[in-house]
């Protein structure tokens, strides 16, 4: 336990450092700011949601990653965490919630059901949420442990940190959204 190294500072982005100043790329700074203040929107529909409750609480403490504020309105959320089975009746609702999120937005699919439908290989269950919305990080497990959810959030932070500021207005991104029929 005691020999684990505790990192207290986020690593500085690439840049030129001098006495009392730091010059770097704006996109790096913006990426760092975004990555360390991801406000989650928990979309919990079943047991993976219970695991996320543990992730939120004091023991696993997702607040360490700048995500202490759970947002239950999509307007102030950056990170949509879909946890649980999404029935086909739920699909348009999930899509609407995703569409109403603030820009830029990211999606983590937590658990086997959200990733692929899981054991529910039936007519009524959506076989993976990536059928209706673009997903950035998949967390496998049935349900995944809080450590796995935290790892998923950290992988997403890596993505966010390295994302170009221009990506969201690029034609590729518009095309990606258009393939999901989202304007």
């Amino acid at each position: 336990m005691s020999d684990s190294k505790i990192i207290t500072n986020a690593p500085a982005p690439e840049g030129f450092q001098g006495e009392g100043f730091f010059a770097g790329k704006l996109s790096d700074v913006v990426g760092m700011a975004r990555a360390n203040s991801l406000w989650p929107l928990p979309f919990a529909t079943s047991c993976c949601g219970i695991e996320f409750m543990a992730t939120m609480a004091s023991h696993y403490d997702v607040a360490r990653f700048g995500s202490e504020r759970m947002s239950f309105s999509p307007r102030q959320a950056d990170m949509l965490l879909v946890m649980g089975t999404i029935a086909k009746k739920m699909a348009p609702i999930l899509r609407q919630v995703y569409e109403q999120m603030a820009e830029p937005r990211w999606v983590i699919s937590v658990g086997a059901c959200a990733c692929s439908g899981g054991i529910f290989d039936t007519y009524s269950v959506l076989q993976g949420i990536d059928k209706i919305i673009p997903v950035d990080v998949y967390v496998p497990g049935c349900p995944p442990r809080p450590e796995q959810i935290l790892d998923g959030i950290m992988r997403l932070q890596d993505l966010v940190r390295s994302e170009s500021v221009r990506r969201r207005s690029s034609p590729e991104y518009t095309e990606l959204l258009a393939s999901y029929n989202i304007k």
């Binding site: 913006v30 307007r75 919630v97 569409e99 109403q100 820009e103 969201r168 304007k183």
Partner: protein
């Protein structure tokens, strides 16, 4: 005279900095952040469910009347708790005072009944 005016300079600077920072960051973030607008996105958020009608619709004032009457008589009961705890110490005098208080409120209650304040239809 000269020194008094220059004394305020740091305060003006601080005000300018405070207002400038707030306004500046709002303007800069609107330029830096990506934007996306669509009919679906600008809809009212109703937990992802299709919104039905306008949220700003009038509803019966009766509800307000019943709610405010409830608060009134609720508070009356709260006043009775300390009296009940100190029932023996306050004796007959306390009983009389509480009686007067209750009668006053009871008059109000009958007034409400007479005015048909509690009839829903």
């Amino acid at each position: 005279m000269h020194s008094i005016q220059t004394d305020y300079f740091p305060i003006a600077m601080q005000l300018l900095l405070a207002v400038g920072f707030v306004v500046g960051t709002i303007i800069v973030s609107s330029f830096l952040g990506p934007k996306r607008k669509s009919a679906n996105k600008d809809k009212n958020f109703e937990c992802g469910i299709e919104s039905v009608g306008n949220a700003r619709m009038p509803f019966s004032v009766k509800y307000f009347l019943v709610a405010i009457l409830f608060v009134l008589f609720d508070v009356e009961v709260i006043f009775m708790y300390p009296w009940a705890v100190n029932f023996r110490e306050m004796g007959v005098e306390g009983l009389l005072k509480m009686g007067i208080f209750m009668i006053l409120l009871l008059v109000g209650f009958f007034y409400v009944m007479k005015k048909k304040g509690l009839e829903w239809e």
